[in-house]
Symmetry: C2
Subunit: 481 residues, 2 copies
Amino acid sequence: MAMSEELLTDLYEFSMANGYYATLPHDQEAVFDVFYRNVPDNGSFVIAAGLAQVVEALQNFHFTDDDISYLRSLNLFSTGFLDYLANLKFSCTVRAIPEGTPVFPREPMLTVKGPLLQCQLLETFVLNILNHQSLIATKSRRICAAAEGRAVMEFGARRAQGPDASVFGARAAVIGGCTSTSNCLAAKKFGLQAAGTMAHSWIESYPDELTAFRAWAQVYPDSASLLVDTYDVLKSGVPNAIKVFRELRAAGHEPIGIRIDSGDLTQLATKARQMLDEAGFENAKITASNALDETVIQALLKEGAPLDNFGIGEKLITSSTSPVLSGVYKMAALKVDGQWQPKIKLSNSREKVTLPGDKMVYRLYRKDTPDQAFADVIALADEKLPEKLLAINADPLATDDEIELTDFVAKPLQLEVVGANASSIETDVMKLQASMKDQLAQLPKATQRLINPDVYQVYLTPKLFELQQRLIKEHHQKAQA
Amino acid sequence: MAMSEELLTDLYEFSMANGYYATLPHDQEAVFDVFYRNVPDNGSFVIAAGLAQVVEALQNFHFTDDDISYLRSLNLFSTGFLDYLANLKFSCTVRAIPEGTPVFPREPMLTVKGPLLQCQLLETFVLNILNHQSLIATKSRRICAAAEGRAVMEFGARRAQGPDASVFGARAAVIGGCTSTSNCLAAKKFGLQAAGTMAHSWIESYPDELTAFRAWAQVYPDSASLLVDTYDVLKSGVPNAIKVFRELRAAGHEPIGIRIDSGDLTQLATKARQMLDEAGFENAKITASNALDETVIQALLKEGAPLDNFGIGEKLITSSTSPVLSGVYKMAALKVDGQWQPKIKLSNSREKVTLPGDKMVYRLYRKDTPDQAFADVIALADEKLPEKLLAINADPLATDDEIELTDFVAKPLQLEVVGANASSIETDVMKLQASMKDQLAQLPKATQRLINPDVYQVYLTPKLFELQQRLIKEHHQKAQA
């Protein structure tokens, strides 16, 4: 992302900003929220990721002369507006939920407050980055859950949707739980563990498989992990691997193991395990890597396939079964003549009606089990959460019954990350992974289930709910007038 | 892609290259092919895209000091190998099928010939770029075919899998037929038409919809395209748009039209069309943009929805119904002691057995209908296609019956793009789109069908087929020995 994020922007953002510049006070302030409505793969939450790249871009948000020349060449924008852009002093405040946090539908993942013109210009690239990385972190969490503690290596660079998708995708995959990536650029850029062994082309570059394995063992005597499926796993690959493992051991080295990249993994791994064990290589690991995802891994492990590690390619790096996180960026408030006005986007679909106003989201823990979260609450930013709360389910498809929430400790999820009071954010990817694991451990097990997870309740405070209902009513009255 | 393509490489490519360096002659030459086996969305072909970025990267392929330091820090590679990389003189020759060409399964899209070490290091990023852009160009071709000549705008930046996916995806979408993109960075970088109007936030920034429309018309009197679904399309959006269109016309301006982004597009567009026509705005265009892809567009048009333009978001920029093109990079030949040896990758699955040897692919045209292609042929690179050919179907699931091909003109599809005799490649994206349209017009209509397309035949020459069969037999004999 050495590219210009400032121009990674839909044309209409510039068209609108130019229009605001012409017709509204230039310092008119607004609040926008990023949130999503649907969870990939019918899960119950998303793992937030991408914030570090958003913050990095916003800390240096400016338009180059080249950007301005391009925008001028479109003959769409006023000179005044282009001058405004050229001299832009970025002055938005951004609050966001830290990376690695499980986030539920409708919760504001990120909130931008500042001049409407500037808020508008951030929409496209903020969504691009958060949608992409959160999508991949979410998929990674699912795959790692299926792997039940076994190492999961991210191997998808060649099938990622472009260079950035491979690099930032690998970052997100590690936030979501992967132990390593095959992608050297990602490993270098983010300090990740790089992983990988050999391809079939290595085997084909030597007269036969045994010679190829011996050549590998000669170069990497202490890290020999051999790909055994070039010709025939059980007749050729594993027997040749065992020969070379014996030679290695005789020379004082211990082999790592084998990798199987095709065929029926349960049958092949079971037989290979027997052969390795019988030859005295009980510690040699078996890695599987053929078109795997959480569903396949669960099925293999349920069958008892003796697999130690997984290498995951295209199905992780593209989240192929659910390749889009449809996060949106919606106006929540606008300051008009010095007064904040909450804003709502209506729709015929209950699900698409937005939550108005500047908001804060809290995770609620029981006072007596302070490490177990039981619900989240979305409130207005300027209200203090009372000790006892009559809350309304945030799910627009749930009934409007009130529920009494009491005896809880509320932890605010958003932090200020850009602005005068900004906290510095965690950028160490392994620490983000550790934080994700801690937070997962605080959620009910049933909501982490990969298939048909239990719904984790997200509530609205009465104030927020009443504000939303009032705005809906006002719009309907206006429409009938 | 200002990032270092040289490190956008799976670790195992470096591990293998380091191993080759230690155990094989450093100038040992090889041939690798890029090809794919399965077409996204069950289509019959892929539109090749991404070559310009591959060539650009290869023309300047080198490792920086920083890259070398990183690789050294892994403690995996010999000093000799790291010095080789630091002083690498890239010397591979690359032949490829030009962008915009329809390419069928198993055809070599790109062929690299040169030192094995260097060939190996290109695998990851060459596949990343070709797989991604060809995937999106292919999806774009499908969506544009469904739109039957109506303008299709690429609107997906916010849901693309990272910044590059949005920028190179927009490029690929235009190669595949889109008229424009909302992505300013892509438009600037590749000289594409930028497109877009307003979001709902524009409407919400003014006291009411009519005021918002008037403000827009004031700023853009000659390009007023109004988003009419913020509150209610038929009761509010279209009547307000018509009011503003009348005011514009009275002031000597003609409006562009309206955009509908939610609701039932057929019903809303039909009624909106009536209202616009009755008000005298027969030329006002209706653009639709809600979660569209080729299937939805076909359904809407079949119902007679009066839509003039389409804006396509996430379903194009991620190819969401089929988000992976699984192109592979396989060794086809290796020069051992001065002699080229054809190489094959075996598998228990017929589909996965590779085509050995340095190859060339030809598109065949009938002599009497020189603008109609009827089949492709894959041959060995050093054989001259005879005038009459007993060919074997390249589809490993087809029978091995020979078919006589005669009275054809054969056009080679690959060009040398990197090397001593390299042709300069077309990089003008609109010219690539024009070339794609020309080449589509040469293919049978039935093979372009979006659902259940007819199979377009790809044949092997007898020499290539016999070589493949001989190598399979030799491997089986060796395995039994």
